[in-house]
């Protein structure tokens, strides 16, 4: 565990992060032991009480709820019911068009949105080094990150609506009538529209993180490589990309978490049922619907808890992956 912490610290290039040891010498300078303990309690107690009361306990309670009936008897029935529900997994819809089930929709979101926004942000960060007024360009692209996601969803709906929207008008002019209609109303295009649209909202994140990362690479590296006559693509794969690894890991994890938790966008852009026949439905929306039904039928609290637990498990897999990669490097 201690090595793990040190590994994380090193890979984050943080002399301070998860710093072990420093505090021990400082402690020696504190007063009598009793006073010391009292002070520590004052410093840590408020935060711990709040976190335990409103985060830790609810998390455990949700796990518990996912394994019991409303009467409190242990059961795996909730999991069985959620996983066999076509809302979660809909093999009949395969391969296309949606609904394929929320699990696959979120997976599709990750498969398409993650690589596009990651590499597009990287590419922009690289070319912006040579561009005049790059800070304005960066700000323009970063706007999506500042936008409340509920407004982002409204804007996506606007973007894809036939009549006022740019996208259908573009395809109309391009002579592709099948795409010249309101994307989000049709099963074939609703999910893809939202996924591509969310690239617009999220690319700013990878751009900003990569831009910050690029400034930490010493210029000499590139100059030395240039003098050696290294071709640009090799410079990228041998120097730039490997040195940006910590940023890449952070971007992948944060993006993954964002894609798994996606909620507001879909809620605003289609509706809370996930669009036409649930063709743009996602896990968090499914959880929310179960939660609402739970008020009248407590069985649904169990189902909502199952979806939330699955969501958290997937999230933890993502986070654990990041931590392991970072430790391995360190």
């Amino acid at each position: 565990m201690r090595e793990a912490l040190a590994g994380i610290r090193r890979s984050l290039r943080l002399p301070s992060f998860l710093h072990r040891g420093g505090g021990d010498q400082r402690t020696a300078r504190l007063g009598p032991r009793a006073r010391k303990t009292a002070t520590r309690v004052v410093f840590l107690a408020p935060a711990l009480v709040l976190v335990i009361f409103l985060v830790v306990y609810p998390v455990l309670q949700t796990v518990y709820l996912s394994f019991v009936t409303p009467q409190g008897t242990a059961t795996l029935g909730n999991y069985e019911r959620v996983i066999t529900d076509p809302t979660t997994l809909n093999p009949a819809g395969l391969p296309w068009p949606p609904p394929l089930g929320t699990l696959l929709h979120n997976a599709l979101w990750i498969a398409i949105h993650l690589p596009i926004s990651l590499f597009f942000g990287l590419w922009l960060a690289l070319i912006l080094r040579e561009v005049k007024g790059s800070s304005i360009v960066k700000s323009a692209i970063f706007l999506g990150m500042v936008t409340p996601m509920i407004v982002g969803g409204v804007m996506l709906r606007f973007l894809f609506e036939q009549g006022p929207g740019v996208v259908p008008a573009f395809f109309d002019a391009a002579g592709i009538p099948s795409l010249a209609r309101s994307w989000l109303l049709y099963r074939e295009t609703a999910l893809l529209g939202l996924i591509f649209g969310s690239v617009w909202l999220w690319t700013g994140f990878s751009l900003i993180v990569y831009s910050a990362g690029l400034t930490t690479i010493p210029k000499d590296y590139f100059e030395a490589a240039k003098i050696d006559g290294t071709p640009p693509h090799r410079m990228f794969f041998r120097i730039t990309f490997p040195l940006l690894r910590p940023m890449t890991l952070v971007i992948i994890t944060m993006t993954l978490l964002w894609e798994l938790k996606i909620f507001d966008i879909v809620y605003a852009a289609v509706d809370r049922s996930g669009g036409t026949r649930g063709s743009a439905d996602v896990l968090s929306l499914q959880m929310y619907r179960y939660f609402v039904t739970g008020a009248t039928n407590p069985v649904y609290y169990g189902l909502a808890a199952v979806v939330a637990t699955l969501l958290t498990l997937l999230t933890l897999v993502g986070t654990a992956w990041l931590f392991r990669r970072m430790v391995k490097r360190g």
């Binding site: 301070s16 007063g31 006073r35 004052v42 709040l50 409103l54 006022p164 740019v166 930490t216 910590p246």
Partner: protein, 282 residues
């Protein structure tokens, strides 16, 4: 000569690409701006049709005064929630972050790591029990419930952020004060807190934006329209009509969007620092 020309070409292409992307990225914003500032009937065939453009603020006025879902009340509610839900967690997390950076106690690093790990818990994972807790406290449909929840929810990352900040602070001044007989609390309030103001700005702007932009927690805890934060009212502007009133919806969206946008533009330095510190801490 040709090589120089090649470099010239490259510069031009790169500029065109970068600025082109920026322009494309702005299109949706231009779209809602164009739609919000004129009668809805004028945008039926696209907001980019500018041959008929009668600028008006009517959409903004109706969004602000519409009795069923007035964004102006939403503004007040958002502030009532976001201001304490920013200040309280920052204060509480500073205490804890300082504790984690300066004191040593059994299991400290495990405790710290556990708190940091909570950052990745999805909001959905706490929704049902939090709702039930608030029912028991009789706080459902009360903004206090949201303030409490956002305070607890923001703590893990602000603790991480503040701890990193405090650990990087030089110890000399604190030590000198300690030699003079100042207590831990006195040192914290008199010496450490004033030095931490830039960090508060970074953490505060991110936390404020997170709370202001939040939709899910508010959706779960607030049910009466005149207690709702502005974000909850946005989808209501679109509901209940056969045809979406894009003018009204765009105006409402702009009104909700403008606050985090203004904060970002005015305090960009702190925002980026908070963002980077929070993710990679370069």
């Amino acid at each position: 000569m040709t090589k120089r020309r090649k470099i010239r070409m490259r510069t031009i292409v790169v500029h065109l690409l970068a600025w082109g992307v920026a322009l494309i990225w702005m299109i949706p914003f231009l779209g809602i701006f164009s739609t919000a500032t004129r009668p809805t009937s004028e945008v039926a065939f696209g907001w980019w049709q500018l041959n008929r453009y009668h600028p008006t603020l009517d959409n903004f006025i109706s969004a602000l005064t519409e009795p069923r879902f007035s964004i102006s009340i939403g503004y007040v509610n958002s502030l009532i929630i976001a201001v304490p839900a920013t200040l309280v967690p920052i204060f509480v997390a500073s205490l804890a972050g300082y504790g984690f950076s300066r004191f040593s106690f059994p299991m400290r690093d495990y405790l710290f790591l556990s708190i940091v790990l909570l950052m990745s818990v999805p909001a959905q994972m706490v929704a049902i029990p939090v709702f039930q807790i608030m029912v028991n406290l009789d706080l459902v449909d009360n903004q206090l419930s949201l303030i409490l929840l956002h305070t607890a929810w923001g703590l893990p990352w602000i603790i991480l952020f503040m701890r990193n900040f405090f650990t990087a602070l030089p110890l000399e001044v604190e030590e000198a004060a300690r030699v003079d007989g100042a207590s831990d609390l006195k040192i914290f309030f008199r010496i450490v807190l004033p030095m931490a103001i830039p960090a508060f700005a970074s953490a505060g702007i991110l936390q404020f934006m997170w709370v202001w932009n939040d939709f899910f927690f508010a959706l779960i805890l607030i049910y009466t329209t005149d207690k709702m934060p502005a974000t909850l009212l946005v989808p209501k502007l679109a509901a209940g009509q056969q045809l979406t009133d894009w003018g009204l919806l765009s105006a409402g969206s702009i009104l909700v969007l403008i606050v985090p946008l203004a904060l970002y533009v005015l305090l960009q330095k702190y925002y980026i620092r908070g963002m980077i510190g929070w993710t990679i801490k370069g």
